[in-house]
Subunit: 167 residues, 2 copies
């Protein structure tokens, strides 16, 4: 993932936008402006003028963190779903559904696949899946995760912040 370079405080809005999207960013602080408060671990800043090597050093640290901090949420064997330092406990059916979603994180999982994952020994009525997806949705919202519907195709799991320009 690329590290965004932007001028501070000129591009204040863009910084906010990048932060919401979880993008790593290096703020180039102009002249004698006060240094910004670092919003999260994917943000850093450097005062201009600065040597290229110095900028590169900070960029590569941010890139490394972004690489590491990206990985998908984790579901442990006790049904705890952990993400971003927080966690929720998932009841059995929802834990199995989440397992299927995590197996294809950020890609579409069909209803059939979800039904097989949730009820290995034959699924109940058709509505059961819908209702469980609703409940799962509400649970993972607290972790800033979102389950998106892909009409007539299935569902996918991703970070809540990123707003897909979907279709």
């Amino acid at each position: 993932m690329d590290v965004a370079l932007l001028r501070w405080p000129l591009e204040r809005d863009r910084r906010e936008e990048l932060r919401r999207d979880g993008q790593p960013r290096l703020l180039l602080v102009e002249g004698d402006e006060a240094p910004p408060t670092v919003a999260d671990e994917l943000e850093d800043w450097i005062r201009l003028p600065a040597a290229d090597a110095d900028v590169q050093a900070r960029v590569s640290v941010l890139a490394g963190r972004a690489q590491r901090s990206e990985p998908c949420p984790e579901l442990d064997s006790d049904g705890l779903l952990r993400f971003g330092g927080r966690w929720v406990s998932l009841p059995p059916v929802e834990a199995r559904l989440m397992g299927a979603l995590l197996g294809r994180y950020r890609a579409v999982v069909s209803r059939e696949a979800l039904a097989r994952a949730g009820w290995p020994h034959g699924s109940p009525g058709r509505n059961a899946l819908d209702v469980h997806m609703l409940r799962l949705r509400r649970r993972v919202a607290g972790l800033e995760l979102a389950i998106r519907t892909v009409r007539s195709r299935g569902y996918l799991l991703e970070r809540a912040a990123t707003e897909a320009a979907s279709g």
Copy 2:
């Protein structure tokens, strides 16, 4: 926790020592030295000469991170549970239960495991564990620790402050 300031590359050895101890540290890079490779998230650097405000900004970010990386409570052989400078005394059964919880700090411990830990020679009736967990809960609340229920799976111990999106 204080953030250590040290000169780079002059105090190279001290930096290594601090890193091993998990102490936060800010490297002050002299003249035209190459910026160091950041060892972990508790390390940062700034090129001299630098404004006081700039140094302060980086120091406070490091201090914040250090605050967030947390220690684990300790239970000594006399049944004293220590955490965050305070302590409580635990009666025998509850001390054994706490031992099991500490063995898997922040992860789920099943009811069966707790029962075995609390009553090595066979457990009493069905509700004894529930009631003891209740009493343990109230004792450790004073240390800002919380025992969370994970329905149908067990219990886990964590800091009370961290508001998991729990359920």
